[in-house]
Amino acid sequence: MSHKKFARGVAIVGAGMSKFGAFPDMTSRDLFVEAFQELKASIDKGLNSNDIQAFYLGNFSSDQFEKQAHLAPIIASWVGLSPIPSLRIEDACASSGVALREAAISIASGLYDVVLVGGVEKMTDLPIAEVTDALATAADTQFEIPAGFTFPGFYAAMATAYMHKYNADPAAFAHVSIKNHANGALNEKAQFGQSIPEIMEKKKARAAQKGRPVPSWENEFEFLSDPKANPNIAWPMRLFDCSPVSDGAATVLLVSEELASKYTDKPVFIIGSGQGSDGALAERDSLTYIPAAVEAAKQAYDMAGIGPEEVDFAEVHDCFTIAEIMATEDLGFFKRGGGWKAAMDGRTSRNSQCPINISGGLKSKGHPVGASGVGQVIEVWKQLRGIAGERQLPANPRIGLTHNVGGSGQTCVVHIYERRR
């Protein structure tokens, strides 16, 4: 099963995203319209909306966040696509990664030639406790949440098991946070858009301005170990280990391989796709990696006919810093138990052999959960077409990968992309 390829090739010919952040004036549909406008402008040879035959929307829970269900046809109408088939896909934080896979399968099947796929989440209208409760519904609400788990808590528990098994230094988590903030500082769409030293300077300036004692942090590590600046959320995960609550939308246009040249001379091909599932955290084969990610990666590598050593860069699901470390192992970039040391040694930085989350990742770019999967694809599109600006990788990367996790690992979807010219 896993060696099967798409029955015909699928290419990305356009991509757009809204800014990620907190936008009190905008609802899901407004965010998606912003992303769609950018997508239309990104299509080199232009797009006639009438070409689009179906719309797949990833969204975790507009029902809870905005009291609005049945979102796909509404958004389709708002971007001028009625009456095409429009549907919403929910797999928690992997919703739009899964929507991408289903949209690609629909083209590969031969039924459609041109499909719009995207993701959206509007999370910041609710008070933080209600956001936490809404996110908790992506876990097992009969047996995990009643025990007292939260989402930071699941990953924190994996972190304690990981630290115990591999004698890992928790400073590795700070290294991931510092790197992703530094990358996100070069991304104009990022929610934070500031490196940690910039955040420190801002806090010092604010304290001085208000006549309060100016903190004396000498470097990022002193800042990140200050319990006032970086409080515990779920030990050992602190505030700067956690992705934020965000609003945002992202969308890409998929077409069959034979139609790609109608839209662009520089398409990005989806050459590998894989998806895995699993039960609740306690019942899994391991607490120190995510088995569904290993499964998804195996399927994607098999379909693409490549191994991890051929991937030039990856956008991975760093909802928490420990998640990025596990992801780099689950994807085969580092051996089991080696991810934390690689992060500490800078072997995942933008100028390394294995750049991880050049966009800033969910940590800095933001994590509007239903939009995050396609949000990762936007970075791949930019890097493979050489339009990522200040954060563009040198040496013309050819192969990119995305890794999108739902819940604490109940879903994982991995895609591999290739530039051919």
């Binding site: 406790a129 209600e130 936490t132 409760d133 908790a136 009969q142 047996f143 995990e144 949440i145 009643p146 025990a147 007292g148 788990f149 939260t150 930071p152 808590g153 924190a156 528990a157 994996m158 972190a159 304690t160 098991a161 115990h164 409080p231 515990n232 959320i233 779920a234 030990w235 050992p236 995960m237 039960g279 609740a280 955290l281 306690a282 019942e283 607490l287």
Partner: protein
């Protein structure tokens, strides 16, 4: 063990009587908690209800400083955090539980692998008090 059925809610019915239940596969011997009808390993539907001893060890944990609404209502907050973990039962399966009676001032000092004994904790939930699974050090 005829008084509880395989439906997922009977886990809490059993807990109310101080019992930690699960199921064992008659075909492959796999054990799991909470109980379920279909074996996750060999996929047979020959699962039988069992009761676990309640002895186990700590496999993973965290100390929660930002609790969800229900735990806030139970009195927890960043000044009064709580520990939740994954416990590996003596019989093999792992379960989620609140871990009581630990010193939470130094979370790093909590040791994975410590021996635990099942207990329960009563919390207010949705307007009524309910018993939840908990463990404490032996």
């Amino acid at each position: 063990m005829t008084e509880f059925n395989m439906n997922s809610k009977s886990f809490y019915a059993a807990l109310n009587e101080g019992k930690l239940i699960g199921s064992r596969c008659k075909k492959c011997g796999y054990q799991v908690s909470p109980q379920r009808l279909i074996c996750p390993k060999c996929h047979s539907d020959q699962m039988t209800l069992i009761e676990f001893s309640g002895e186990g060890k700590l496999a993973a944990y965290t100390v929660i400083y930002v609790p969800p609404t229900e735990m806030q209502q139970a009195g927890y907050n960043n000044k009064n955090p709580y520990c939740v973990g994954v416990v590996e039962l003596k019989e093999g399966p792992r379960v989620n539980a609140q871990i009581l009676d630990l010193d939470l001032a130094q979370p790093a000092e909590i040791k994975i692998g410590i021996q635990l004994q099942m207990t329960s904790v009563v919390r207010e939930s949705k307007g009524s008090s309910q018993k939840f699974l908990a463990f404490k050090p032996v």
